[in-house]
């Protein structure tokens, strides 16, 4: 069955949707999104610990998109804008879910998959040690983050990253990533 963005949305919007955005991911959009989730009553009533984790992981997820996303395929029924990405934050039962979605060229699939599988394979202690190693390795990637983003998300949430790759067409894959905070 062909990939339907509609169905993906339906799945990710289960629970109370706190924020939903699709379009160009710019520094201004990131600032506005943060301002908007700070007003969320769900989050205001949370313990400090959880609230800050959600803010932190939400920003990291958005900035991950900002640094990596590109134009969507022309045939996709979405806004044709540079740095196209989707983010949905919802509270589903006892946990918060941050879902991101974006189109990637097929040839990037293995790179992304290997990276996530590697991070997912580590124990909490290994995640902490690898984080410290990368933090101290003096290298900045051209994106500035130095490859700490995914690791930081796993460390803060204590949960594995859930990802799916949907075939969009011959050239593109839709990359879906979910992180859970509880």
């Amino acid at each position: 069955m062909a990939f339907e963005l509609k169905n993906w949305y339906l799945e990710k919007k289960q629970g109370d949707v706190i924020l939903e955005y699709n379009g160009s991911i710019t520094p201004e959009v990131i600032a506005e999104a943060l301002e908007s989730i700070e007003k969320s009553l769900n989050l205001k009533n949370e313990k400090n610990r959880v609230r800050k984790k959600v803010y932190n992981v939400f920003i990291e997820s958005l900035q991950n998109l900002y640094h990596h996303v590109d134009y969507p395929p022309v045939s996709a029924q979405v806004e044709q804008s540079p740095r196209f990405g989707i983010i949905i934050l919802s509270k589903d039962g006892t946990f918060y879910r941050i879902s991101t979605g974006n189109f990637v060229k097929k040839e990037k699939l293995n790179y992304i998959k290997d990276r996530i599988d590697q991070v997912n394979s580590l124990s909490d202690e290994e995640v902490r040690m690898l984080y410290r190693d990368i933090l101290n390795n003096d290298e900045y990637s051209d994106k500035g983050g130095g490859g700490l983003g995914m690791l930081d998300i796993v460390r803060k949430t204590g949960n594995k990253l859930e990802y799916y790759f949907y075939q969009f067409d011959d050239e593109y894959i839709f990359f879906s990533l979910d992180v859970y905070i509880s």
Binding site: N48, K52, K53, Q63, G144, L151, K156
Partner: protein
């Protein structure tokens, strides 16, 4: 001559930057030997934001105060800031090693394990005494 001396004496300017939704409040006071960073640090381009601070610290390292007090009180920060914060500590470590004591006060809110652990990360890399200070909510 007076002008020149005066110029040297005040060459370590105090830098104060107000906080913004994505960047922290920063105070760098060379005369009192105080370095303060408070709030949140989540800019997309952290290197650009922190460069003037690193430059200032480099200059400060040439003639540091007898003691330097560093107060880091961050709400949260992104991974791109984390490397810049380490850079700041590395500059301070050089000053400390040269015999001008530096003390780092790392503040965290009482149930904020992430900020506590972040302090531990830096502590494990940097050879400067860290004081972990818990703040009540």
């Amino acid at each position: 001559m007076y002008t020149l001396v005066n110029c040297i004496a005040t060459s370590m300017e105090t830098i104060i930057r107000e906080g913004s939704p994505k960047t922290p409040f920063v105070r760098l006071d060379g005369e009192k030997g105080v370095v303060e960073i408070k709030g949140r640090s989540i800019p997309e381009n952290s290197v650009e934001f922190y460069k003037p601070i690193i430059d200032w610290l480099e200059k400060f390292g040439d003639s540091p105060s007898d003691e330097t007090n560093v107060n880091i009180q961050l709400e949260y920060f992104n991974t791109s800031s984390s490397k810049c914060i380490l850079d700041i500590f590395k500059r301070l470590e050089l000053i400390h090693k040269k015999g001008h004591p530096v003390e780092i006060n790392w503040y965290y809110e009482e149930d904020d394990e992430d900020m506590f652990e972040a302090g531990e990360d830096y502590q494990s890399i940097i050879n400067i005494p860290f004081k972990m200070i818990e703040m009540e909510e």
